[in-house]
Symmetry: C2
Subunit: 372 residues, 2 copies
């Protein structure tokens, strides 16, 4: 129950244990075409999708170096470890950045993006997250899309810890590039990253002489035309992905979003019933960040819960260490998993000296589930 | 029986099908430490080893962008698709190159490297392959190492399709950086790449402001100090790797080299007994490249063999298409596999009109095996 890597269904695990096959074959090309088609359904796009053998950070880097020249600027929304990563990547490649610095836990005001774009015509791409994993905040991408859509600026969204769990309408909302990772709501192990590229983004790719080889989008485009990848892909992970995507599409993408909304509602109601406060002002349906209550040693919560109850949640990262904990509820997760994590949380908090009505979070979560 | 991806032992496949676990845990750190220790035994080095979630090309890129400044030059040995890739990567990042262009099928004369280094003091790194997969040539890295060792130049070797099959003494021979991939003689699926970095190479890394983020060696070094990776690693592939490395170390690294030498000997004797010629002047023990005989449609050999006999070998790449075919014999391969591929080759060649004494290659291979 961390915000990723998440549990992988046995169907996908066993698919990955089947004998390896070669990637320069019709069998692989067919597999890649099928998974790309399924990804398009989940990502809600008709655009191309590039599959990288890398962590999500690899695809983030690709979405910067392939579309910005050195005389252009990147606008990025920080306010969390992954928002900040956008800025760090751009700086590593000598690309100037403009930062909209949000207090941790807050969502960006889309109007601040409009103001920043108006103030600096050198900004040619906006980088933000759908869900900031480190704080549990979900940003209003629909509203941001409306602002960016009719400009020559590209909108690039990190959907790594949210797509497949949280509503996204890539094409309708005007997201030009969407980054997704394999080990989150797509329910397979880490090792693959995906990047959608629409026509507006491809036009920019073709204009830029990118400092990129392994992560070159021009190379990816050339191979995609033959349903191929430029370099040897992580074949087994793609085979597993096909299985997990089949499961998502069979359940129905909207139904999956609804399930996550319900699980998130129940988690939030549960922790509030224990007298705890949510950290995010607009909480994501993929992960719930909770403030550590007064008098409790926050750094101990995840380790003690893992040791005593065999359930792993995440603590805060960097500055947030000991101040928040984070419960992931995305991917292969159901109601009883949420009840389980809340029970483990109650017993852990009780042992660490927090006072509350034992069972309160379980009742609150069940009330949400019973309301249907 | 291609030169990779190769068969994965069931022990490793099933290890990868076990439930996923989180990477920011003692369990993962222990796994990474253990696999790194085993890799050091196989790569014959005491230096650091960085594990990337990428294809081998990602680690090749890392070994260029992290150690060369824009005012320095890379010397590379071409003479095959993968040798040429060194040059293509350097060029993508604006690094000037000096090429030692070998005819396909020939090995580099180490003295040519000495001459090139003497002629141009701006060359600060030499890039070559241990085995050039596209031609089956093995280069004399020991001799090249002697030339480069006492200079301020770094020696970087692509061992992707050979390390674990072909003798390499990374430290003793003076290889400063060695690139290895997971899907070849290490017997796991594609998705991981490894890069050894010795003190001489680290010193250069620390001096260079690299255009790198996902493939940054400085970031990797910082995380390695905590037995960690900077970005989410391909956990399941590393778990599988631990199994396959255990198998290699149990057999004994030198024994594994000897097994590959024997299998390669038998393959070469087999194809010669059919009146065929080897393509490589110094053939690798990991892959045997064979000239297509007169009057046979070379492009048909691999596809027909796969269709009729269920055994997949590789054709020639790019300019070599239809002119050579390549039999991989690395990793999870034994004597009977070699007999099998030779039998399939005989039947395929017979059907395509080549004249030879049926059974000749099988007898020749068995003679080699019986000689012990």
């Amino acid at each position: 129950m961390t915000p990723g890597p998440v549990d992988v269904p046995s169907e996908a695990l066993l698919e990955m244990a089947r004998p390896i096959f070669h990637h320069r074959t019709a069998k692989f090309r067919e597999l890649l075409e099928e998974t790309t088609g399924l990804l398009k359904q989940v990502f809600r796009t008709k655009s191309d999708i590039v599959t990288f053998t890398s962590s999500g950070t690899g695809a983030m880097e690709a979405s910067i170096v392939n579309i910005l020249r050195k005389d252009e600027k990147a606008l990025f929304v920080s306010g969390g470890k992954f928002g900040e990563r956008w800025g760090n990547i751009a700086k590593a490649f000598g690309i100037e950045t403009v930062e909209i610095k949000m207090p941790y836990g807050n969502a960006v005001d889309p109007e601040d993006i409009r103001k920043a774009l108006d103030a600096d015509p050198k900004i040619k791409a906006v980088y933000t997250t759908l869900c900031e994993t480190s704080t549990g905040v979900v940003h209003d991408i629909r509203a941001i899309g409306k602002i960016v859509k009719d400009t020559d600026v590209l909108l690039v969204v990190d959907g790594i810890s949210s797509v497949g769990a949280v509503e996204i309408e890539t094409d309708e909302w005007g997201v030009d590039m969407l980054v997704v990772g394999s080990q989150k709501a797509l329910m397979i192990p880490p090792g693959l990253a995906f990047l959608t590229v629409n026509d507006k983004a491809w036009a920019k790719v073709e204009q830029v002489s990118a400092p990129a080889f392994y992560l070159s989008l021009k190379a990816a485009r050339k191979s995609m035309a033959k349903s191929d990848t430029p370099y040897t892909p992580a074949i087994t992970l793609i085979a597993g992905l096909k299985q997990s995507l089949d499961m998502i599409v069979t359940e129905g993408v909207e139904n999956v979003w609804k399930r996550h909304a319900k699980l998130a509602d129940a988690t939030r109601a549960g922790v509030k019933a224990l007298g705890l406060e949510l950290f995010a002002e607009s909480p994501s349906n993929s992960v719930t960040a909770v403030k550590v209550p007064e008098g409790v040693d926050g750094a101990k919560i995840p380790s003690k819960m893992a040791e005593d109850h065999g359930i792993r949640i995440a603590g805060g990262q960097a500055d947030m260490k000991g101040k928040i904990f984070r419960i992931g509820h995305m991917g292969y997760v159901d109601k009883i998993d949420v009840i389980g994590v809340l029970a483990a949380l109650e017993m852990t908090l009780a042992d660490l000296g927090h006072k509350f009505d034992v069972g309160a979070s379980l009742r609150a979560a069940q009330d949400i589930f019973l309301a249907g």
